[in-house]
Subunit: 213 residues, 2 copies
């Protein structure tokens, strides 16, 4: 477990810059060094998220690190989705190389989110959602757009005037887009004659739905 098992006691401090290093690697003279060629900024972020200094980001560490613009934590299903996409070696954790991909993915989605959040409210409303999905090439009916808006909208405080219109936070916007992309791709793959209809078994139907994040 310890890189230097004969001096394990030297590596017992738990902090963001801990030397405790059960995952091995990158410890040099008590300072965590980036892998050769690593972007120093990304390495600093990685060790900030990797709070137990294991050189691997656990799902819990990821969930603690990911917050929306309004400081609410990412919902559990979005965190699980990100783990599933970026834990490419299926270790159950995110290593530094996997983290680089995750970081870029989140940065790109942040740019998309800012672009479509036209009123800079920090959430995506119905009109902004419609514009985004249209630009991504999805042709959803108004009824479907309304379903997406309500499914992924956050829980808003009720007011004396009744239910408030709820916006979609960053985490749920990304998840909504991934779900729509994945389901649309599933459908198109099965729609071999491109007539907008498919023949599907119960097992195929349930598999498609349950695979979506």
């Amino acid at each position: 477990m310890y890189r230097h098992s004969s001096s394990a006691s030297r590596y017992s401090t738990h902090s963001a810059h801990s030397n405790y290093n059960p995952g091995g690697g990158f410890v040099t003279q008590g300072i965590r060094q980036p892998p050769p060629g690593a972007d120093p900024t990304l390495w600093r972020w990685f060790i900030a998220v990797d709070t137990d200094g294991s050189n691997a980001i656990s799902p819990e560490e990821l969930q603690r690190a990911l917050v929306n613009g309004n400081m609410t934590p990412f919902d559990i299903d979005t965190c699980k989705m990100l783990m599933n996409i970026f834990d490419t070696d299926r270790s159950g954790t995110i290593g530094f190389n996997e983290f680089v991909g995750l970081w870029q993915y989140i940065r790109e989605w942040q740019n998309v989110f800012r672009h479509f959040d036209r009123d800079n409210s920090g959430t995506i409303d119905g009109h902004e959602l419609s514009a985004a999905l249209h630009q991504f090439g999805y042709n959803l009916s108004p009824a479907l757009l309304s379903l997406v808006e309500h499914k992924y909208g956050t829980i808003a405080p009720a007011t004396a005037y009744g239910p408030q219109s709820t916006g979609i936070t960053f985490d749920r916007f990304v998840r909504a887009c991934v779900v729509i992309k994945q389901l649309t791709e599933d459908f198109r793959r099965m729609d071999t004659d491109r007539d907008g209809w498919i023949q599907i078994s119960y097992d195929q139907f349930m598999t498609s739905v349950l695979r979506a994040p």
Copy 2:
């Protein structure tokens, strides 16, 4: 807004048993009284959850009140699902009569959960899930059962031995069962000749999926 607007200052304390009562009703001589015929236990629970004393449970109050056996809060999608089921007058809040239904629903699911959590671990594992869905009359393939188990399993701490097997907490177990029920009913409704295959358009497909909680 105030029942006694001429003496509004008397109703300014915010607490679980506050007299502040913008929703109207049930305030008698400074003590919140249950509606006629109300179960006193349920009324005590209702006013405990209704922390702002509005006689209506907001989505936020509901989310603060609902916790799993391991004290983790219910996930946002399960809270939204419960609001959608029980906010029958679409006011955006849960009144006392709606709360009675919600309370019974959760009690019944708690009994189901305890019944299938054979090892009393507080979560449902793969075998327990399989037993539950089989008893509910769903015939899911092992691959589908595995998908459900992973989709609704919670984020577990990674260990030195790799990803941990994750169990399904109460909130996500209820949501998984409701999703499977709803999708199976959708499928059966369309499978008019009962051959296990349906013809479905893109719009129908997406609507069915996005309506599921």
